[in-house]
């Protein structure tokens, strides 16, 4: 408590780490998309290109959550 600056920077790091918890959800989302996509491609290999495109699209949206978290974490560390 004798160095408030160090205390604040420590809290910043903690907050950045906590922000990245949302990566769990994004990971689940990406995994689910890949699971569904691969299963669908296995069932219907002819439609693989369309499924792949949509799978990557879905993964991108799921991943976006983690990216927002990353942005928040970066802003907390460097900009806040």
């Amino acid at each position: 408590m004798n160095d408030p600056e160090a205390f604040v920077s420590g809290l910043k790091l903690l907050g950045a780490g906590l922000a990245m918890i949302s990566a769990i959800g994004a990971g689940f989302g990406v995994g689910l998309a890949a699971f569904g996509g691969v299963q669908a491609m296995g069932r219907n290999p002819d439609a693989a290109p369309i499924i792949q495109t949509n799978m990557i699209l879905g993964m991108a949206f799921a991943e976006a959550i983690a990216i927002y978290a990353l942005a928040v974490a970066l802003i907390i560390i460097f900009a806040a």
């Binding site: 290109p49 990557i56 991108a60 991943e63 976006a64 990216i67 927002y68 990353l70 942005a71």
Partner: protein, 346 residues
Amino acid sequence: MSEEQTKKGFNWRKWVIYFCILAGIYSAFLGPSILKPISPVVVLPAEPTGLSIGGFEITNTMLATLLADLILLTIAVFVVGKFMRSGSLVPGGFYNAFEALVEFLWNTVEGAAGKWAFRIFPVPATIFLLIFVANLVKLVPGFESIGRIKEVHHGYGYAPVLLTKVGNLSIYTIDKAQKREHVAKEGEHGEGHVDQEKLCEACEIVPFLRGSATDLNFPFALAFIAVLMTQVYGVWALGIGYFEKFIPIRQLIKGGAMGAINFIVGILELILEFAKILSFGFRLFGNIFAGTLLLSIVGALTAVLVPVGLYFFEVFFGIIQAYVFYLLATIFISGATVSHHAEEAH
């Protein structure tokens, strides 16, 4: 005769490869004892290289981007141009590989956009090629490791060690064992006090070249262009009616509750358009920056063998990120050329 020659060439190549492997093993085991691996300083902003054009300073990520541009334009002028001038129909050599890549991109765009493909193609294709080349060229040794040595502004630095001297150019490295704290000196911010003779006390290395995608400006610029071009192509294809996707006034007037909901959805879509820039940009930046960080940290921990696997990983991720960026841009742009109402009609 030719068979013998190829055999001879193969042997020669084989010995070069053996030598490289041996040298690699030797330097991998002896190198760390000479050059201590240094855990890198995490810096987000691109560092200035000291060069400037008309007062506009050039950062190291800009230099890397320009290098990627140069590589692409060299291919375009010397490989594609030469082939086109030869008038041959049968591709061969490096041109064939480049054409296969472009053909792959073209097929995807054509599949997504149909008759709009040729007008759309330059944007996603350039996005792909630029990210692809930038991500791969970033992995060349010397990137992010060779640079100017300078005094740290705050935090810790390391003591400089003279490595070798070529002419009147001294080459230094920094010694990880001698960690030094930055001492705020008087007149540090002053002009002309930059010590040419006397070297820095607590030093860090500012690389000449740094991966383009590790600077937020590069992915955000590409994301901005992708989203902007989505609107441009949307207006080109559908006229001013394109903007009804965002502000569905007609629906608000026509249908009661559903119209109101659609209006709000349209506003959300407008917000989503800006969110796209963010997600596009941070996805590329996050992946590549994390990759760079991972490589340098693992390299500082174990200099032998493990970074090789991570290098493969990085090559793979560089290509995948380029492809994802390209694919999403293609889908968004080609989606904008299709009428929103037409989709609802069927």
